[in-house]
């Protein structure tokens, strides 16, 4: 298993501004994932971040809106740019367990409210 921390845990931001969310893992991992979740609902994958290469974005998410950094094997950031109220959500980072199983370990999430 892995221990994952996220900062900030929550924030209230004004529309048009940007917020950077940090994700720190206690061990080196190849892939990190960023998800979005409306409270009480399922998870939607935003992008997969590999160290040393550009993140791979899912349909409906673009790099200009959600730039991701992956400077080393234990850290990643997700920026939510030019925010609007529709970006209000919970943002979660995760890492994958040992292959071939598909277990994922999640951070506690960042609850973002855009006013």
């Amino acid at each position: 298993s892995a221990v994952i921390s996220q900062k900030p845990s929550r924030d209230i931001c004004q529309r048009g501004t940007s917020l950077t969310i940090q994700c720190q893992v206690d061990s080196q991992v190849t892939m990190m994932f960023w998800y979005r979740q409306q409270p009480g609902q399922s998870l939607t994958l935003i992008a997969t971040a590999n160290q040393g290469s550009e993140a791979t974005y899912e349909s409906g998410f673009v790099i200009d809106k959600f730039p991701i950094s992956r400077p080393n094997l234990t850290f990643s950031t997700l920026t939510v740019s030019n925010m609007s109220p529709e970006d209000s959500s919970i943002y979660l980072c995760s890492v994958e367990g040992n292959l071939p199983s598909a277990e994922q370990y999640f951070g506690p999430g960042t609850r973002l409210t855009v006013t």
Partner: protein, 110 residues
């Protein structure tokens, strides 16, 4: 696109009752996971099933993977308030893209 439909979406039961949550898909998955998420926290892995027909028990929780590896169920015996949370199934992973289920919100009333 692989879809994982969970049923029911919401469940509110009294402490001590039994319940079953279903996770269904038309796709075959190499493995399937169940997670529980409490408010303000990320999902926490409960179990992984990998073999068709597999049954795993975790105290009062029983997980089953369908023979064709397209569906799964979670059965809770004698539910307790501590079981309250959002239950998510997820299929795939490893070399297969992970798909999360639609979620089942469980409330156990003392």
């Amino acid at each position: 696109t692989q879809l994982l439909e969970q049923s029911p979406q919401f469940l509110s039961i009294q402490e001590g009752e039994n319940l079953t949550v279903y996770c269904n898909s038309s796709s075959v998955f190499s493995s399937l996971q169940w997670y529980r998420q409490e408010p303000g926290e990320g999902p926490v892995l409960l179990v992984t099933v990998v073999t068709g027909g597999e049954v795993k028990k975790l105290k009062r929780l029983t997980f089953q993977f369908g023979d064709a590896r397209k569906d799964s169920s979670l059965h809770i015996t004698a539910a307790q308030p501590g079981d309250t949370g959002l239950y998510l199934c997820a299929g795939g992973g490893g070399y297969q893209k992970v798909t999360f289920g639609t979620g089942t919100k469980l409330q156990v009333i003392p």
